[in-house]
Structure formats: C-alpha cells, structure tokens
C-alpha cells in the first residue's frame, strides 16, 4: 500500500507517494489510511502546489478538506468511496466531489466552497453552514440544514435531489434549501422548519401542514423565487446531467415555499 511509504510529519513530503499524471494533480490511494495521515498528505500536497486530487478507496476517513486552509481556495478534490463524518467541516473554499454516499456532518459550519455528492447523505448535512453550496443527488438524513445562516453576500445553498428525514431546516437562520423529490418518494419528514427564523426552503411535491414546525408558513412563489429555483436547479443539473429530466420538467412540478413567520420566533416568551 503506497500510503505506508509516506513520511507523514509536518515536514515536506517525500515525493514517492501517489502518481502525478499531470503537473498539479495527484492521485492518492487512501485504503487503510488513518484520517490524520490522509489529511496531512492533502495539506502538504496543497502547500506543494497540487490543485487537483483524486482520492481512491476512501472508507470512513474524516474531516477531508478541513485542514486545507492556505494559499488557495480553489482545489478540486474528487473522492471515490465513502468518506467519513465531518467531510468538509469548516470548509473555506475548494470543490469536493464524492462518487458515492456520504455519512453524517457533511459541510459542518462550512464557510465557502462546494460539495457535490453523487449519492445520498447522512444526518446533519450542512449544519450551521454560512457560505458555499452543497448538491446531493439522492436523499438526506435527519436535521439537514440545521441552523443554516447567511450574511451579506454569503447566502449558502443546499440542493437535494431526493427527499429528507425529520427536522429539515431546524433553527434555520438564512440560506436556501431546495428539495426536489426526484426519486418519486413522498416527503415524509416531520418538524420541517422548527424554530426557523430566516432563509427559505423550496420543496417540490406535496406535504401536509402537520409536517411543518409552528414557526413557518407556506406561501406562493414569486418572481424572485422562480429566479432562484431556475438558477440552482440549473446548477444541480449541470452537476448531475444523468438525472434524466430537463430543468423545465423539474420546475413544472408543484413547488412549495416554506419561510419563517417571524425573524424573532421567541421574542415574546420572556417576562421583562
């Protein structure tokens, strides 16, 4: 296994790992590699000028992308396999593409960048994300977009091809979540938007009012909403051209907009 040949200290890596097939590109076999070792390697490669990574046989390694704070914000990281929890946690730039499913905590407190998942995602996807975009082809787990935020020009977006489990958008304070329901499965999530006080969720398909938290309401789409959907569904299809539907076909479906009733849901519960 190539990984074991590598000196993983903070010193410069010896150039006997991986195979570079073009300048600035590197392929890493992550089989059996502990998380810290893999992330050391990624960082050292980045500092050495690598801009494109292909990670093979990833299986459970955590925090991929987290330590890539440095001279560039535009790395391309392609992952084959199943990365571990906290993929792209605190991510501040870069583009991560996963060919497969991802686990829990993807994009945790992410600030910038893009994560593309060609499969399904586990729980707490995009928790407290403040910037960047996440595209998931299939379904997502519990507590997606929990406490998602926005600030000035930072308006994060989560586009999900399938559906979600409970507590979608809990505490949501900003940003855009789009749930396309493409797999044909009904939306069964409960507690959608519990405690939501900012941002917006667009949901393609139908839901019952009882599935919503008491802090949100459903409203018709306006021009601005249409423009947002047009843009992000377009970007979604760019990333997953194999989805087999056109943008028009998708947007023809029944679209529901869920937004908070108040920016201050708990303003009145205290005695002053």
């Amino acid at each position: 296994m190539e990984a074991q040949l590598i000196d993983c200290g903070t010193a410069q890596p010896a150039f006997n790992w991986g195979k570079s097939w073009r300048v600035g590109e590197v392929e890493i076999d992550a089989a059996g590699m502990p998380s810290k070792e893999l992330n050391n390697l990624l960082r050292n490669c980045m500092l050495d000028g690598t801009r494109h990574f292909l990670l093979k046989n990833v299986c459970g390694q955590r925090y991929i992308g987290t330590r890539l704070v440095g001279p560039t914000k535009s790395l391309d990281i392609e992952i084959m396999g199943t990365p571990g929890n906290d993929l792209g946690a605190f991510l501040s730039g870069h583009r991560i593409m996963v060919h497969g499913n991802v686990q829990d905590g993807v994009g945790n407190t992410m600030d910038d960048g893009e994560i593309i998942v060609r499969g399904r995602a586990g729980d707490v996807l995009g928790m407290s994300i403040r910037g960047g975009k996440i595209f998931v082809k299939d379904d997502v787990g519990y507590r997606t977009a929990l406490h998602m935020k926005e600030y000035m020009d930072k308006r994060p977006a989560l586009v999900i091809g399938g559906t979600s489990q409970d507590f979608l958008g809990e505490y949501m304070a900003g940003g855009i979540v789009i749930l396309l329901g493409l797999g044909g499965k009904p939306h069964l999530a409960n507690y959608i938007g519990t405690g939501m006080h900012g941002g917006v969720i667009y949901l393609r398909g139908n839901i019952m009012p009882s599935q919503l938290g008491q802090e949100v309401e459903i409203s018709p789409l306006d021009e601005e909403d249409r423009a947002i959907l047009d843009r992000y569904v377009g970007e979604f299809l760019d990333r997953f051209p194999d989805i087999g539907m056109s943008k028009e076909e998708i947007l023809e479906g029944n679209m529901i907009k869920i937004s908070p009733i108040s920016k201050r849901p708990y303003g009145k519960i205290y005695a002053y």
């Binding site: 925090y63 605190f90 707490v124 928790m127 406490h147 935020k149 304070a173 708990y266 005695a271």
Partner: protein, 501 residues
C-alpha cells in the same frame, strides 16, 4: 393591566443638596429620573429603578440614596417577597422570568468554609517581596513521559501549550452580550497582564484579530456564530462551549435589539434577527461526537492550538470530565452554578447545577484515580470572588481559574441583575452607543490589570506563608487546606480533613 408589584428600590433625594443639574436623568437609561420644568424639580419613577447605583455614585452633590424597598408583605418564610413578586410578574405577562448575573441564592459557599495552612517552625515561610515566587502556568496537554535522545533533544511530541503569567484568565463574555468597549477592555487587559481573554460565542471583530488574537481563546458554541478559518487560526486556544454554570443544558438567545450592525458583522448574521444558540451542539449527541468536533477543530487549525471543552458543573461532572479528556481535549473548563450570565431563565439559574468547589474536587480526584490528570489542564470558574478563592481552587486541583463576574465588577458592574434589558448604565452589558461610550477602555482595562496585579500579590503572599514558591506545588495539594463547619460527606467530596484533624 395594572401591575400589583411594589418597586424593587426606593430613591431618596436630598432636596437641600439637589440643584437640578439633571445628571441623574442623563445617567439612568431606565428612565427613573425625570426633570419637571413646571416645578423645576427632579421627579422619580421608582418602578423603573434597577438599583444599579449609577446615579447615586455619579451625583456631583451626593444628593441621592438608592436602597431596596423593605419587604412590605406579611413576613412569610415560605412565600418570600421574591416568590410573591415573581409570581405576580408571571401572572401579568405569562412569560419566562429572566435574570442576569450568577445565582444569588444562599447555597453554601465552600470557599468560606475552607482555611489555608501556613508554615510555622518546621519549615520556613517565604517572603514573596524578596524571594522568587512563581505563578507561571502552562495550559494544555502534557505527555506521560519525555523521551530525550543522546544529543539531549526532545523526541516526544509536545502538544501545544499556552503560557500565562498567573493562573487567572478572563472567562467567556461575548461581544453582543457585553459592549464593544467592555470586550475590548478585557482584551487589552489580557495583553497587558499576560493572560487570555475569551471571546464567548459572539465572534472576534476582524480589526481586533491581529492585535489581540494572540491573547484570545475563541469559542465554538452551539450557535456557531462568526466562525471561519481566520477566526480559529488567529487565536491562541479554542474552546468548545458545551455548557455554562448559570444555565446548564439550555441554549441562548441574543435578542434582536442587541444585534447591532457591528454585532451582526462579528457574528456574521443579518442585522435585527435574534441570534439563537441551540441547547446542544447538534453535532454532539454523545461523547464520541465530542471527540469528532475536537479533532475537526484541531484539523481546522493544523493541530497548532489547544482545544478546551467547557461544561457546566452538573451531577456527574467527574465522569463527563474524564470522557472529555479521553475524547482528546487539552483543557477541561468547569463552570460552577454561581457563574454569571447576561440572561438566563431564573428557574434554571437558581436550581440547576452544583457548586464549583465540589465539582472541581470531584473532577480532579476522578482524573487522578484514572491516571489521566496530567493529560489535561483544568480551569475552574463560576464564583471566584477573590485571591483566596483562586488559591483554594488551585489546591483543590485547578490549574487556573476563570474570572467573569469579578472582572465585570472591576469595570463598574454592581450586580443589579438587569443585564438582559440591554440598558446597562455602566456601559458594560449594552449595545446602546451612548451607554457603551461611558466605558473608557483605557480606564476599564487599567482597573482589570490592577485587579489581577493585586490578586497576584495576595496569592504570592499566601503561597509564601505555606512555604511554597512555585504555584505548581500547590496544585491539588489538599494538605494545605482544612474544612471548617462542613458535614462529613462534604469533606469527603472535597477530599479534605476537618480543621484540627
């Protein structure tokens, strides 16, 4: 609805001294004092008074006295005035009672039941003014052993450690909860004295990062406000805030009134929305999840910063602390139930958690029993009022203490407990530029430095008396403490002998 409440305070004005300068009117943001041009007299609305004493202290003629209203109701041990008034307030509003500052309830203060030792005859006491006396403290994880190679080089990887010149750090107070001026004063004092301040969960304003980042512990709390790579990497240490002594187990809620444009920018949230901190970190539902966040933060900072985990002192705090150390934390911070807050539901503040003295002793003992005490640093906070509290905390096992309420008092706070109104007349707990501007950062930071300096002298004096000239020799050294007036179970938890034993 007419309120059935008595005013909490009475304001007495000596008309013979008052010259209607209207200073009191300007001082009081609550609107207690009003000038009546018709009579050319100052009027008083006592229902507004918070008892903060700002007007009395700043009255140029000493014409004002503010004092608590006597308990007018028929005396009743069960239904005290506080209980009756709280109940009326809720009947009038239907709301959750809020309060500020730490709990004022008469739980036993163990510091006051512990006495220190001094050397007599068998070993000499030390005069700190003329002999070396060392308070320098390292915060961070230490390895179990040090391997040295033949050339005298250290082979063991030493984890990141922070040096502070005395075992006292400012505890977490966020910009947003306190004013920019107060926040800045803490940062300036930390830099000047050689210790750390703690950003709380409200972020660190960008313009402060270069100048004060090296003196900052930056917090990562459940709200994840203002966190980006630069925030984490400019700091000296990172603290995951799991809980706070004043309100264990519940979230926070910075009302929109306090989210000014600058607070919003620092927290990176839209102006004018409530900043809500969930009760738990939603990526931590278990000890292995905590480990995951600890290592995520270490990854985000290239393993260069120590990571602290702050928890409220609760019933099984010893087991929790042990888990925290095993989860990879370098520092465990424990906040006792008397710890302060800018706003907490009163029911929580006065009823949840345990006193810091018991928690600290239990944690120190448990970590020693399990042989992992050296792997971490313990910081104790929540009710440290004076230098002797500090030294007793060290002897009960703390490496250092957090100072919160004491620091606020040094800046002018009078513990009126109205922090949650945002109208702090002392310019500390407010975002109103007029009020905050009253706090001169130069003076406030000087007061803070003076406090730390005075306490350091006193600590050295007490250490010298015990015949100890380096603070590490007192750490966990309960032989220098005795309990007075404590039950046996209390002595057991504190692992102390009774006086004379």
């Amino acid at each position: 609805m007419r309120s059935y409440l008595f005013p909490e305070f009475q304001v007495f004005r000596d008309e013979s001294k008052c010259n209607q300068c209207r200073g009191c009117e300007r001082q009081c943001a609550f609107g207690t004092h009003i000038y009546d041009p018709a009579t050319d007299r100052m009027q008083t609305d006592e229902t507004k008074c918070s008892g903060c004493q700002r007007c009395a202290i700043f009255c140029p003629r000493n014409a004002l006295v503010v004092r608590p209203t006597p308990p007018y109701y028929r005396p009743n041990e069960a239904w005290t005035r506080e209980k009756i008034d709280d109940l009326k307030k809720q009947a009038e509003t239907g709301g959750v009672l809020l309060s500020g500052c730490g709990s004022d309830k008469p739980f036993r203060i163990y510091w006051d039941n512990i006495v220190l030792n001094a050397s007599q005859v068998t070993n000499p006491s030390i005069d700190p003014l003329r002999e070396p006396m060392e308070l320098r403290t390292f915060l961070g994880r230490k390895p179990d052993l040090l391997e040295i190679d033949d050339c005298g080089e250290i082979c063991t990887e030493l984890g990141p450690n922070i040096t502070v010149e005395a075992p006292m750090l400012f505890s977490a107070m966020s910009y947003g909860a306190i004013s920019y001026q107060a926040f800045n004063s803490l940062a300036m004092a930390a830099r000047e004295f050689g210790t750390l301040f703690n950003t709380g969960e409200g972020g660190l304003p960008r313009e402060m990062r270069e100048e004060f980042g090296r003196y900052a512990t930056v917090q990562v709390a459940s709200g994840r406000f203002g966190i980006d790579a630069e925030y984490l990497n400019c700091a000296r240490a990172i603290e995951i805030k799991v809980g706070q002594g004043a309100k264990p187990g519940i979230g926070g809620h910075l009302p929109a009134e306090k989210v000014s444009s600058k607070v919003a920018a620092t927290r990176m949230i839209p102006e004018g929305t409530d900043a809500i901190s969930p009760a738990p970190h939603h990526d931590i539902y278990s000890i292995e999840d905590l480990s995951m966040l600890i290592y995520a933060l270490k990854e985000a900072t290239n393993y260069e910063l120590p990571v602290s985990v702050k928890v409220a002192a609760v019933h099984n705090v010893a087991a929790i602390a042990s888990g925290i150390v095993r989860a990879g934390a370098d520092i465990v911070a424990i906040d006792g139930m008397r710890g302060g807050t800018g706003a907490a539901p009163k029911a929580i503040r006065d009823n949840v958690g345990i006193p810091i003295e018991l928690a600290l002793s239990a944690v120190d003992r448990r970590l020693r029993e399990e042989g992992v005490r050296n792997r971490c640093t313990i910081i104790a906070g929540g009710g440290i009022r004076c230098s002797s509290d500090v030294i007793k905390a060290i002897a009960l096992g703390a490496d250092a203490v957090y100072i919160g309420t004491a620091a606020l008092i040094a800046m002018g706070c009078t513990l009126c407990q109205k922090c949650y109104t945002g109208k702090c007349n002392w310019g500390i707990c407010t975002q109103d530029p007029r009020l905050a501007g009253r706090l001169d950062t130069r003076i406030a930071s000087q007061r803070l430095v003076n406090l730390l300096t005075a306490w350091s002298f006193e600590i050295k004096e007490m250490l010298g008396g015990m015949g100890i000239n380096a603070i590490e020799s007192l750490r966990g050294n309960r032989d220098h403490l005795r309990g007075v007036g404590l039950y046996e179970w209390e002595l057991d938890v504190l692992a102390l002998k009774g006086a004379g034993e």
